[in-house]
Subunit: 419 residues, 3 copies
C-alpha cells in the first residue's frame, strides 16, 4: 500500500514537472515572437513592437488568471456552448485526493494553469506582427484584454474544455485551430479595419517590399519558436509517466522537428524557383509553417509523413504570402499566412494519419473558430476604433510609431536612413 502511494506520488511529480518545463518552453516563445517581429519591421517601429510584445504577454497572463481560465475550463459548465464561471484559479489538488484517485488525478492544477496561460499569450502574439507599423499601441492593448480574457477562452472551451466541438469529434492536438487559426483570424480582422501601411501598395497595383531591419533578430526569433514548440506540442500530450505516454511524447518531438525541417526546405526551394534567390525570410516562415501544420496532429503521422506535411506547409506559406499581397492585405510578418492559412492545412491534414478524424468535423471546427473569432474580433476592433481610434496619424506613421507611441528609438545610434 505504501509502495503504491509512493508510486502515485512520484508519477504525479514527474507529470507535473514535465508540464512545468513544457510551459516554460512555451513562455519562451513570447521572446521568439518579439524577436521575429522586431527583426521584420523597420527600425523606426521597433520599440513599439517590442513594447506590445512585452505588454501583451503580461496582459494575457493577468486576464487569463482573472477570467479566461475559468471560461475555458469551468468547474461546472452550464452547457456545452457557453461555459460557466468560477473565480480565479480554484483549489490545488490535495495529496489525499490524488492518492484516493489512484493516479486518475495525475498532475498539479497550478501546473495546468501555467501551461494553459502561456498558450493564450501565444495566440495574442500572432496578432501583434500583422498589425505592426501603423496601429496605436493602446488600441492594441485594449484588444488584447478582450482577446485573452474572452474571445480565446470561449472558443478554446468549445474544444479543450470539452465543449461542443470536442463532442463533435473535432481534433486539434495542440492548437493549429484553437491557438494559431484563432490568433490569425483576430489579426485578419484587425488588418482589414486598419488598412495597409503607407507606401506598401502603389496606385497601379505595384507591391513594394518593405524589408525588415534586422534579419539576425528575426532568425533568432524563429529558432526560439522552434525550440519552444517542443514544449507547445510535447506538453500537449498532457502525460509522460508511463511507457505509452513517454513514447507518444517522443514521437511528438520527432514529428514536430521533422515538419519544421520539411517546411524550411520546401519554402527555400519554392522561393528559389520563384525569385531565383535563397530567401531567408521565406525560409523562416517555412519553418514556422511546418510547425503550425503539425500542431493539429503531431502524434499519429510517421516522421516521414510529418516531414511531408511540413513540406506542403512550406510551399503553401510562400504562395499565401504572395497571394495576400495581391489582395492588398498587408501583413508585415506573414502571420496570417503562417498561422491562419497553414493552420487550416494542419487541421485538414489530421485526416491523413488519424483514423478518428473526419473531414466534416475538421471543417466544422475551422468554420466555427474562424467565424466566431472573426465576428467578435471585428466588433471589438470596431468599438475600439470608435472609442480611441486604432491607427496612428499619417505623420506619426511616417516618423515611426516609436517616436509617437513610446518616445524612444530602438537603435538611436545606428540608423542611417531618416525617419
Amino acid at each position: 500500500m505504501e509502495h503504491m502511494d509512493k508510486l502515485v506520488e512520484l508519477s504525479y511529480a514527474l507529470d507535473t514537472f514535465y508540464f512545468l518545463i513544457s510551459g516554460a518552453f512555451v513562455m519562451w516563445m513570447a521572446a521568439g515572437f518579439a524577436m521575429l517581429e522586431a527583426g521584420l519591421v523597420r527600425a523606426k517601429n521597433t520599440t513599439e513592437i517590442l513594447t506590445k510584445n512585452v505588454a501583451l504577454f503580461a496582459i494575457a497572463c493577468t486576464m487569463y488568471m482573472l477570467v479566461g481560465y475559468n471560461f475555458m475550463y469551468p468547474v461546472e459548465a452550464v452547457n456545452s456552448v457557453w461555459p460557466g464561471m468560477g473565480f480565479l484559479l480554484g483549489e490545488e489538488h490535495t495529496a489525499s485526493a490524488v492518492l484516493n484517485s489512484k493516479g486518475e488525478t495525475y498532475y498539479s492544477k497550478m501546473a495546468d494553469f501555467f501551461f494553459q496561460v502561456v498558450f493564450v499569450a501565444t495566440a495574442m502574439s500572432i496578432v501583434s506582427g500583422a498589425v505592426a507599423e501603423r496601429m496605436k499601441l493602446w488600441a492594441f492593448l485594449a484588444f488584447s484584454v478582450v482577446m485573452t480574457g474572452f474571445i480565446y477562452p470561449i472558443q478554446g472551451y468549445w474544444k479543450w474544455g470539452a465543449g461542443f466541438l470536442d463532442q463533435l469529434g473535432f481534433l486539434d492536438f495542440a492548437g493549429s485551430g484553437v491557438v494559431h487559426l484563432c490568433g490569425a483570424t483576430a489579426a485578419l480582422a484587425g488588418v482589414l479595419l486598419l488598412g495597409a501601411r503607407q507606401g506598401k501598395y502603389g496606385p497601379n497595383g505595384e507591391i513594394h517590399p518593405i524589408p525588415g531591419c534586422n534579419m539576425p533578430l528575426a532568425t533568432l526569433g524563429m529558432f526560439i519558436l522552434w525550440m519552444g514548440w517542443f514544449g507547445f506540442n510535447g506538453g500537449s500530450e498532457l502525460k509522460i509517466s508511463d511507457i505509452g505516454e513517454a513514447n507518444a511524447v517522443a514521437m511528438v518531438f520527432v514529428n514536430t522537428n521533422a515538419a519544421a525541417a520539411g517546411g524550411v526546405i520546401s519554402a527555400l526551394l519554392t522561393a528559389h524557383i520563384l525569385f531565383g534567390k535563397a530567401d531567408l525570410s521565406m525560409s523562416l516562415n517555412g519553418a514556422l509553417a511546418g510547425l503550425v501544420a503539425i500542431t493539429a496532429e503531431p502524434l499519429t503521422p510517421t516522421p516521414f509523413l510529418a516531414c511531408i506535411i511540413g513540406v506542403i506547409a512550406g510551399i503553401l506559406v510562400v504562395f499565401s504570402i504572395i497571394g495576400l499581397d495581391k489582395l492588398k492585405i498587408d501583413d508585415p510578418v506573414g502571420a496570417i499566412s503562417v498561422h491562419g492559412v497553414v493552420g487550416v492545412w494542419g487541421l485538414l491534414a489530421v485526416c491523413i494519419s488519424n483514423p478518428d478524424a473526419t473531414m466534416v468535423a475538421q471543417l466544422t471546427g475551422i468554420a466555427t473558430i474562424f467565424s466566431f473569432v472573426f465576428v467578435t474580433s471585428i466588433i471589438t476592433w470596431y468599438v475600439i476604433k470608435l472609442v480611441m481610434g486604432i491607427r496612428v496619424t499619417e505623420e506619426e506613421e511616417y516618423q515611426g510609431v516609436d517616436y509617437s507611441e513610446c518616445g524612444m528609438e530602438a537603435y538611436p545610434e545606428f540608423t542611417n536612413s531618416g525617419k
Copy 2:
C-alpha cells in the same frame, strides 16, 4: 525491500534532474544580464560590458568552486557567524548512503553545487550593469573575485547555510535578499566611489537621459531573465518528488509569472502617467522588479496576491529610478532600483502571506545583508582603487571603454555617431 530501494533511487533521480534543469535555466540568466546590459549602454561601451559579463560568470564559477561553496555550506560550521572551511567540493553521496537514509538524502551533491554556483553569478551580474560605461574592466574583475569567493558566500551562509539569520527566522525563499539585495548593495558601493558618467548630470541639476543603443537586445535580455527565473525560484523549492512538493513548485512557477506580469503592467501605466509615453525600458524594469519582489516568497501568496506584489514592485521601481537620478546616483541600467529597492520590498512582503515571517526578522536580515555587503564592498572597491584605479580616464570614457579596455568595437559597421 527491493521495490522500496528502487523507489528511493527514482525519487533521487527525479529530484536531481529537477535541480540540474533548474540550474541550467539559472545559468541562462547570465545571457539575460549580458543582453540587457549590452542593450542599455551606448554602442561605444558594448564590447566591454559583454566581456565583463562573460568573464564574471567564469570567475564566479571558479571562485565558488575553489572557496565560496565551502564558506556557504560548510560541512562543519565553527559557529553560526563564521563558517568553517572544507576544500573544494567534497564527496558525492554514495548509493548505499542514500538508500540507508531512506530518502532523507534526496538529491546529488554535485547537482546542489551546480544550482548554487549559478546563483553566485547572478548576484555578480547585477553589479556589472550599475558600474557600466566608466569602470576599468580589470578593476571590476578583481572585485568579482572577492565578491564571489568571499562576500556573497559569507552572507549567504548566514541564511542558507543555516547561519544566524536563518536561526533568527529571517525568510528569503530564493534570494530577494541573499542574491538581489546583496548584488545591488555591492553595486551601490561601487557607484558611490566611481561617480556618475560624464554628461549625465548638468551643473544646474539637469538630468540628461543617455538612451541605450539596442532595445531589442535589452528586451531579449528581459525575456531570458523571465524564463530563467522559473529555474531560480522553481528550483529553490529544492524538491519536487512528492505531491506536496510538486504542487509547491507549480505554485512557485505560477506566482513568479504572475508577479512579473503585474510588474510590467504597473510600470507601463506609471510611466505613461508620468511621461505620457509607453516607456519600454520602464516596462522591462517593471518585469524584473516583479520577479525580484516575488523571489523572497513565491510559495505562500495566491496568484492574485503575487500579481499585486508585482504591481507594487513595478510602481516602486519607476519612482526609485527617478529618485536615484535626483540623488545623482548614476546607474545606467537601473540595477540598484530593480534588485536593491525592490529586493527590500520583496523581503518585507513575505510578511503579507507567510505567517512564519516577522517584520523584526525581515528587517534584521535586510539590515545585516545591507551593512555587511556595503562595508566589505566599499573597502574592497577602495583597495582596488588605491592599487590600480577603478575609473578610466576622461579621454577613454569619451572615446568609449571598448576602445581602451578591449581594443574592439561591438558594431564596427553600424554606428552613425562619432565616438
Copy 3:
C-alpha cells in the same frame, strides 16, 4: 509484480523525458551557432550565413532521418566497419517488450533518434562558420547533404554504433572527436579548396583582421552554446534513473561548466598578455574551447581537473587561431581551432582521468576520424566544385554574398560603410 511494472514504466518515462529535454537543449545550439557566426562576419555576409544555418539544420534533420540514423545505428550491422541499412527509423519499443526486458530497454527509441539527430546538425554547423563570406550557398548545402547523410553517420558508427573504434577502446563520451573534430575536419577540407577571403592576407605576409559586425550577437551565440552543452554532454550519459546515473549526470553538468569557465579565464589572460587588451572574441572562443575539450570525458575528472582541462584549451585556442592565420588558413570564426585542434586535446585529455583510456586507442581514433572525414570531404567538395563551383565571384564577394546569394540585406538601415 504490478508495482515492479509500474516502477519500470516510471523509470522509462523519466529517462525518456531526460533524453528529450537534453535533445531540445542541443537543438537550441543551432541558434547558438547561427548567432555566433552572424556576429563574427561582416554585415554584408550576414543574411547568407543565417540562411545556411537555418537550411543546414533542416537538411541534417531530414537526411539523418532518411539514411543517416540507420547508417550509424544499424539494427543488423554487416560488420564492424560498414554498417548495414534499415529503412527510416524502425519501430518504437512496445510497452510489453519494455516490461519483459525488466528495464534493460529503458528509453524511447524515438527519443534516442531525436537526441542523435540534433548532434548531426551540430557537426554540420561547425562547417558553416569556417567557410563564411565567400562560399556559394548552394554548394554548401549540397555538401551538407553528403555530410549529414553519409560522412558523419559512418564515422559515428565506428564509435557510437559499436563499430571498430569502440571495440578498440577509443573513448569519446559526447563527441570531441565524433562531432567536433569531424565537423572541423570537414571545414578544413573546404577551406583549403576554397582559399582565403579577399584582403585577409596581404602580399607581404600581413594579416588583416576582419572584425565581426555584431559582438552582442556573437556573445549571445556563445551563451546559447554554453547552455545547450548541458544537454549535449549531460544527455550523453544516456540514463539518469538511478542514484549512480543521477550522480554521473550531475558531475557532467558541473565539469562541463567548470571547463568552460576555465577556458574563458585562460583565453582572456593569454590574449591580454599577447595583445594588451581584454579580447572579447578570444574569450568567447575560450569558453567554446573549454566546452569542446571536456566533451570527450566530462565524467571522470574532478571539477578542479575539468577546470584545468578548460584552462589548457583556452590557451591552446588562442595560439591555434594565431597559428592558422600564419599558415593563411582563413577561418572567419575560428571553428577549426575551437572544434578541431581543441577536439584533439580533449580526446588526449581523456587519458588523464579515465583509467580505461589508452593513448594508442585515442590516437587511433583521432587519426581515423581525421583521415576518413578529410578524404571523403575533400572529394565531396571537389566534386561539387567541378559540378557547380564552390566560390562566388570576386565581384560578388566584394559586394557581399547577401546580395548575390540571398537578394536581401541583413541590416538594410544600419550599415554605414559601403558594400
